[in-house]
């Protein structure tokens, strides 16, 4: 078992002296063929999931079509995918749905913005007072333990059937989540950095603007993203239960008019909108956190 009797290549010597490369880890080798290979691999990595996603969704729709074709389930409960697909343009062209969706989304956005603004201000105030943070968490957790939808009847009493009712319930659902995340984020500011800021004689407003808020931002943004999904559920619930407007109401109208195929198409539209909103918020969250971590 003797060594080779030739001097190894210079590259080998360089690699041997490289302490950071662990055993068995492939090191990139430069070269035209590998560059092409890498490009192809990158290509495949982005294309393959999309293709697979389309195939997977297709199998689900095919399964749905098979169930309806066998007549196992009545057309009146579960229309076939083709029936839903043909009524989709009808639903998409329905001006009532446009107005309803706009109403739902505006209420959603307004509630989210209002609740977040209030919760962030409150949360920053509470979070900077150490003896207040824990009692505040306990109080908030206790007060929000009523599922938000249970308060819809009360909100109807207080605000009537207009958008304010939906918004109020959504604010109740959202604010505690953002508040808790803000308190947590603010309280979690690295103490050493606060000391450093003190030693630089930063005034309180600069400490907040430059240090406390940035370090709390990831937690706050995550809180808003989580809360947004719940807010949408709550707004739609309120519309089902007695709102005077909104996508939920349109959905109920389709169902009551026995156009169940249109109800399914409507849910598809609402779902796609929800997915888009969720995707946007996740993207915004990732961007914000990435930016904060760069600082």
């Amino acid at each position: 078992m003797s060594g080779r009797l030739v001097a190894p290549a210079a590259s080998a010597r360089r690699a041997a002296g490289h302490p950071l490369v662990p055993d068995g880890v492939a090191r990139p080798v430069r070269g035209l063929r590998t560059a092409v290979g890498a490009a192809w691999a990158r290509h495949r990595a982005t294309i393959a999931p999309v293709l697979l996603g389309i195939v997977g969704t297709g199998t689900v729709i095919a399964g749905w079509a098979m169930i309806t074709a066998t007549g196992l389930v009545s057309e009146r409960s579960l229309p076939s995918p083709t029936a839903v697909a043909t009524s989709l343009p009808l639903v998409l062209a329905d001006p009532d749905l446009h107005a309803g969706l706009a109403d739902t989304l505006l209420t959603w956005l307004g509630a989210l913005a209002l609740a977040s603004a209030v919760a962030i201000v409150l949360g920053v105030l509470i979070g900077t007072v150490p003896w207040l943070a824990r009692p505040a968490m306990v109080a908030v957790n206790a007060l929000r333990s009523i599922p938000s939808t249970a308060l819809i009847p009360l909100a109807i009493l207080l605000f009537g059937l207009g958008p304010a009712m939906k918004g109020a319930v959504a604010v109740y659902a959202v604010a505690p989540i953002v508040l808790i995340n803000t308190i947590y984020g603010v309280a979690g500011t690295e103490p050493m950095r606060i000391d450093a800021a003190r030693s630089m004689h930063w005034p309180w407003w600069r400490r907040w603007a430059w240090l406390v808020l940035p370090s709390a931002t990831p937690a706050i943004v995550t809180g808003i993203r989580v809360a947004s999904g719940i807010a949408l559920v709550v707004v739609v619930s309120a519309e089902l239960l007695g709102g005077r407007s909104g996508a939920g109401l349109i959905l109920v109208q389709y169902q009551q008019a026995l156009r169940i195929d249109m109800a399914y198409a409507c849910i598809t539209v609402i779902g796609v909108v929800g997915m888009a909103l969720y995707g946007l918020l996740t993207l915004a969250e990732r961007r914000t956190i990435a930016r904060i971590h760069l600082v």
């Binding site: 997977g56 939808t149 979690g188 989580v226 089902l240 959905l251 969720y278």
Partner: protein, 301 residues
């Protein structure tokens, strides 16, 4: 859609609180266990004052500006005792009204949520173990996760009518996708060293899944279960408000429609207490099952 940060935040707050507590540093080693317990009890009482203050504030405001919609807290408390309790040891002091509503609602929630847990974890494990399955079905699952699940109510009604099955379907379908996604995240993220060790020991499949993969993914799975319980509660109430003949949500709707606002508030209080109890139960379960995670410092924020 994760409240995992919410979970982590409470734990983090608890640890920072004890870290800054000077009593913690001076407690004798021999009495560490009992000392920690007393300290935890004391700090729990100490952190309740703000809640108490808010309840007192409610009382004062409600007395100063009387409104039928907002009875004072003491009145609600009195109503609460009257509505839900009876001097009957044989039913554990529960009133007839309690026995008519609470078991109905809780059994719906329990059945719907447990079914969602079983389905969600099963789907999540399959997705977590297979990248192809993940790519195939993640769009569909993300769609179902993003549909505001209350929107399924009219369709569930069409499908099942006003039945228990409708309630359970809504709760299950509304919470299982979140559990599935969290489980898939957890399973896909299991430390490869553990899997390699398991492979070198030639563990049979059932043991591999039950003793290695599921425990290792437990932090994510439990976070999913906790959030989905909140969603389950929301959906249970919506379904009961919308179309049922019994249950807590039905009670709330009935009191509102018959102008019995004190009773409505007493129902709110009961629902809140149930919510707190359920949360505490999941908390306890999490603490028990994830003791290893906190001790090994693997619990990440």
């Amino acid at each position: 859609m994760t409240k995992a940060t919410g979970t982590a935040s409470t734990t983090a707050a608890a640890t920072t609180a004890s870290a800054t507590d000077p009593a913690a540093a001076t407690s004798a080693v021999g009495h560490r266990r009992t000392g920690a317990r007393t300290r935890r009890a004391l700090s729990a009482v100490g952190s309740l004052w703000l809640l108490a203050a808010l309840l007192v504030a409610w009382e004062i405001v409600a007395r100063l500006s009387p409104s039928v919609f907002f009875p004072p807290f003491s009145v609600v408390l009195g109503q609460f005792g009257q509505d839900w309790f009876a001097a009957r040891p044989q039913t554990l002091f529960a009133s007839d009204r309690f026995l008519e509503s609470v078991p109905v609602s809780l059994s719906r929630l329990a059945r719907g949520w447990l079914l969602a847990a079983v389905l969600g974890v099963a789907i999540g494990v399959v997705l977590g173990r297979s990248r192809v399955a993940r790519h195939l079905y993640s769009p569909v699952i993300r769609f179902w996760m993003s549909v505001p699940n209350a929107a399924l109510l009219p369709i569930a009604l069409q499908f099942f009518g006003i039945t228990e099955a409708m309630n359970i379907f809504l709760i299950t379908f509304g919470s299982m996708w979140l559990i599935a996604v969290n489980t898939a995240d957890g399973v896909a993220g299991v430390d490869p060293s553990w899997l390699r060790a398991a492979r070198s020991m030639r563990l049979p499949r059932p043991v591999l899944y039950l003793r290695v993969i599921l425990p290792a993914a437990a932090p994510h799975i439990l976070a999913g279960l906790r959030i989905s319980l909140g969603f389950g509660l929301i959906l249970m109430i919506v379904a009961e408000l919308y179309a049922t003949t019994a249950g807590l949500g039905h009670d709330v709707a009935l009191y509102q429609q018959t102008f019995r606002y004190r009773e409505m508030w007493s129902a709110f209080l009961l629902i809140a207490l149930i919510g707190i109890a359920l949360n505490a139960a999941v908390d306890l379960l999490e603490r028990r099952l994830l003791r290893w995670q906190r001790r090994t410092g693997l619990a990440s924020l």
